[in-house]
Symmetry: C2
Subunit: 148 residues, 2 copies
């Protein structure tokens, strides 16, 4: 026997998902870079830390950003090198650590948002049209994002 393949509609949805993300991400990254800022991944880390109250453990970053473990490790290396975050020991588990955002990190996050937000609006918001459409997209994508 062979497993059932996807319908043409599903296949098309897959292709569009890949292409829409690739295209939008590339355009947004280009705007960010043109403004002289570091990669989007840096912003993502800073924002997660800020939302979490300033600190997170590497594995929490991993889960929230959907990144691989070794990837988080080296991303944090680069942010720490730029003094945007600090690594601190995690009391109570000698293997663990705490990643803490610095003043410089908070500051960079704040400065990046206007450029980042404008790009999202330009390449995604304006193309979706209305908030209702944006919400409909969220609803459709939610089960793909969710675990399981």
């Amino acid at each position: 026997m062979s497993l059932p393949g996807p319908s043409p509609a599903v296949t098309r949805a897959w292709v569009y998902l890949i292409k829409a993300q690739r295209r939008a991400l590339r355009l947004v990254e280009a705007d960010i870079k043109a403004a002289g800022f570091p990669p989007l991944a840096w912003y993502d880390v800073l924002l997660e830390l800020k939302h979490a109250g300033g600190t997170l453990r590497p594995q929490e970053l991993e889960a929230r950003l959907l990144l691989a473990q070794h990837n988080v490790s080296r991303l944090v290396d680069r942010l720490a090198e730029a003094e945007l975050v600090q690594r601190r020991p995690y009391e109570g588990d000698g293997r663990g650590q705490i990643i803490a955002i610095t003043e410089g990190g908070l500051n960079l996050q704040r400065r990046m948002w206007p450029v980042y937000g404008a790009a999202i609006q330009k390449y995604v918001g304006a193309r979706l049209g209305t908030d209702a459409t944006a919400e409909a997209l969220c609803t459709l994508l939610e089960p793909i994002v969710a675990d399981g």
Copy 2:
């Protein structure tokens, strides 16, 4: 003045678009790799060539796959190295070339599809539920994929 930022709904749609694609692509790639096949990008090239009747110029691949020029150049290097495609001179423009799929390339494409299709169905189709949902997603993503 400052440019208008995205609404919360648009911002959420952006985040979901990134995460849904990242998650689905990672899961699909893992299945393909577990079955002993080369990266998805190879399949994409082979399929485009097949659909185009066997040959395409590098810039056509670039447009269809939404890849950067230098990326296509090196992707073709690897496929040619594996004898899945051939580079041929393009008569009429000495700068150009023709990428032609080989028998081996066609064969690999055929062998990969069952695994690839099953993964798409598992990680995207099943989560979307119905074809109507898949089509709705296509409709929403279309303006993001489109040029302009």
